[in-house]
């Protein structure tokens, strides 16, 4: 390498790291400012610039206040009920559907796949106009179970993750079990489902994040904010008269994203691979 080339490659490296640092900064600064503000007392919040660090990082009063005022305890209980039910139901429903679509050849197989694909292309917000009337007709307004069933019904991505995974499980496994006289139920529950575990973990993480963060349908169908808030919709409490107390609001926001943060730190790899496996392979 000549000297000029060396200088050029150094400059490129510097530029590369500068851009990475810059965009990481852009990505976290809104969240960091929120963390800073969440630790400020009312007087501190009013008298200091938002980016000045709080006097004490141990001032948790805002978090306590936000948690109580926004009824977040209730929100966490509801969110957990919703999350567990949706994940259990949609795992069974999704894996079973994928099993049939992947292992059985029958007229209509392609049609069913297309129906699910087409459904996923319809923008959700547009559908809510008439969906609201249907939910109303079924008595699903202000019903936790109604909302849970709705959330199970709109799932498409996990079906595709499962179908892809089934494609990689040899069909000779099924065939030898059939020779041994096993029923299709036995084959599915005893043999295939355990093998599907990595795919289930991946799709549950993705689906879990989406369900936990869902707020539009939750706001529309779980209108009773005293009894039926989720963590996401409980934040709506801060829209009204509390709208300018940002130290309180920021604390609420931080509480609401803590579970996602913990999940992210512990399951980073699965989240990335989940996102890519549905999209990239093939």
């Amino acid at each position: 390498m000549t000297n000029l080339q060396k200088i050029g490659s150094y400059a490129l490296t510097v530029l590369k790291y500068l851009s990475l640092v810059f965009f990481s900064f852009v990505a976290i600064i809104p969240v960091v400012s929120c963390v800073i503000t969440a630790f400020k007392t009312d007087t501190e919040y009013q008298n200091t610039n938002v980016m000045v660090f709080p006097e004490s990082w141990l001032y948790f009063e805002n978090f306590v206040q936000a948690f109580e005022r926004a009824n977040m305890g209730r929100g966490f209980i509801n969110s957990i009920i919703i999350l567990v039910s949706v994940l259990v139901i949609s795992t069974f429903v999704g894996t079973q559907l994928a099993y049939v679509l992947n292992r059985f050849k029958f007229p209509g197989n392609g049609l069913i796949r297309s129906l699910f694909l087409f459904a996923s292309l319809l923008p959700g917000v547009a559908m809510q106009v008439s969906l609201y009337a249907i939910m109303h007709g079924m008595g699903f307004i202000n019903s936790l179970w109604g909302y849970i069933i709705l959330m199970c019904g709109t799932d498409v991505i996990s079906i595709y993750i499962y179908i892809q995974f089934f494609e990689n499980i040899s069909i000779s496994l099924d065939e030898s079990a059939i020779v041994d006289g096993a029923s299709y139920f036995t084959i599915f529950y005893r043999i295939l489902l355990p093998l599907l575990k990595p795919a289930i973990v991946t799709s549950c993480i993705l689906k879990g994040v989406n369900t936990y963060n869902e707020y539009y349908a939750a706001n529309l169908y779980l209108q009773d904010k005293k009894l039926l808030p989720t963590v996401a919709t409980s934040l709506y409490t801060f829209v009204g008269p509390l709208g300018s107390k940002y130290n309180l609001i920021c604390a609420g926001v931080i509480i609401s994203l803590l579970p996602a943060l913990v999940l992210f730190i512990t399951c980073q790899k699965q989240i990335y691979s989940g996102l890519t496996s549905g999209a990239v392979k093939g």
Binding site: S19, L20, F23, A27, I29, P30, V31, S33, V50, M51, V93, G94, Q96, V100, F104, I112, R113, L115, F116, L117, A119, L121, L122, P123, V125, A126, M127, Q128, V129, S130, L131, Y132, A133, I134, C152, G153, T154, V156, I157, I159, Y160, Y184, N213, E214, Y216, L235, Y246, C250, V253, S256, L257, A260, L261, F264, Q268, L275, A279, V280, K281, G282
Partner: protein, 334 residues
């Protein structure tokens, strides 16, 4: 004797026997495993879709009488100024998604090679994707407030507060501010997708290119870009249809005030606040038709552009299915 009974059994099976046979079991399993997802799909997607189509011909509210008005709702949508200005707003979102994709592609390329602290950078940039929409709304209301976070940061870099606009009120800039939040939220997710695609490229290709003396830029142009062409095209298609149906940033940050209302924000308002269900349904149907038309046009366009590559492909249908699957997966990931 035994042989004879067997033969007759094969000819005439009673229902019970059929049910116990392999074929019967197969049908039973298929029905048992598919009934729930199909019912859910029908009730929560296709039924509302059909109903919405029906609603669009009526003057109605959610509760009470409905009156058939033919195409009047559709005409009314075209007469409303707010609907048209809303579609104009989607141009901002299209611009934003171009920036977002270019940025994601650049960062993905950089992070696909050895970088110190790469996973930390990646984590920082991806995390916004995991924050719920309402929280994003509050974070950015706070971020853009006069004299708060954004203004302070700009002042660090030497800007004067007097010269800075009101990010959410000033109509010449507020749509760009909102698009910025959407780019902020999704560029990391796009980046992770692109990294996945780049990683699936055979690493021997890079080594061979290095030996041939190709520099980083050439590697990008001639190895990376062609290999991940499909996923980029898919993202372009998605971002255009996504821009037409942009909803979240204005809904949670400005509630559509000061000329930031996108088409769906206005539709949501008409449907749930004013309860003009017929008009809102007509709006939804019109936008869906625009989106489908746009999707088909883009597909034709890209098919034309990449025809030479497609021609070599014997498994064209299988490929199309996979593309559709990717499209759906990405959409659902959003």
């Amino acid at each position: 004797m035994a042989a004879m009974t067997q033969v007759s059994m094969k000819k005439k099976r009673t229902l019970g026997e059929w049910a116990r046979s392999r074929d019967g079991q197969k049908v039973f399993v298929m029905v048992a495993f598919m009934i729930i997802p199909l019912v859910l799909l029908f009730v929560f997607t296709y039924l509302p879709f059909a109903e919405m189509f029906g609603f669009s011909f009526y003057n109605m509210k959610y509760i009470g009488e409905r009156k058939f008005v033919g195409l009047k709702n559709y005409i009314r949508v075209f007469q409303r100024d707010d609907c048209f200005s809303a579609l104009k707003n989607s141009l901002y979102y299209m611009g934003g998604s171009v920036v977002q994709l270019a940025l994601a592609l650049y960062l993905a390329t950089v992070l696909s090679f050895k970088v110190k602290g790469g996973s930390i950078f990646k984590g920082f940039m991806f995390f916004p994707y995991l924050i719920n929409g309402i929280a994003v709304g509050f974070i950015f209301k706070f971020f853009y407030t006069r004299g708060f976070v954004f203004d302070t940061v700009l002042q660090w870099f030497g800007f004067e507060l007097e010269n800075l606009p009101y990010w959410l009120k000033d109509q010449s800039i507020n749509n760009i501010s909102l698009v910025g939040t959407s780019v902020w939220r999704y560029f990391g997710q796009n980046m992770v997708l692109f990294i996945g695609a780049i990683m699936s490229v055979d690493s021997e290709l890079y080594e061979a290119a290095m030996l041939d003396g190709a520099n980083r830029f050439q590697q990008f142009m001639y190895i990376i870009l062609p290999s991940i062409k499909t996923i980029i095209v898919l993202n372009v298609i998605l971002s255009i249809t996504g821009s037409l149906s942009a909803f979240e940033p204005p809904y949670v940050i400005t509630s559509g005030a000061n000329g930031t209302g996108t088409y769906f924000v206005i539709m949501h308002e008409i449907a749930h606040t004013q309860q003009k269900v017929g008009v809102a349904s007509a709006m939804a149907i019109i936008l869906l038709m625009i989106i489908f038309a746009a999707t088909i046009l883009q597909k034709l366009f890209f098919k034309y552009v990449f025809r030479s590559a497609e021609d070599e492909d014997l498994n064209a249908t299988a490929r199309r299915d996979k593309k559709l699957a990717k499209l759906a997966a990405r959409k659902a990931g959003r």
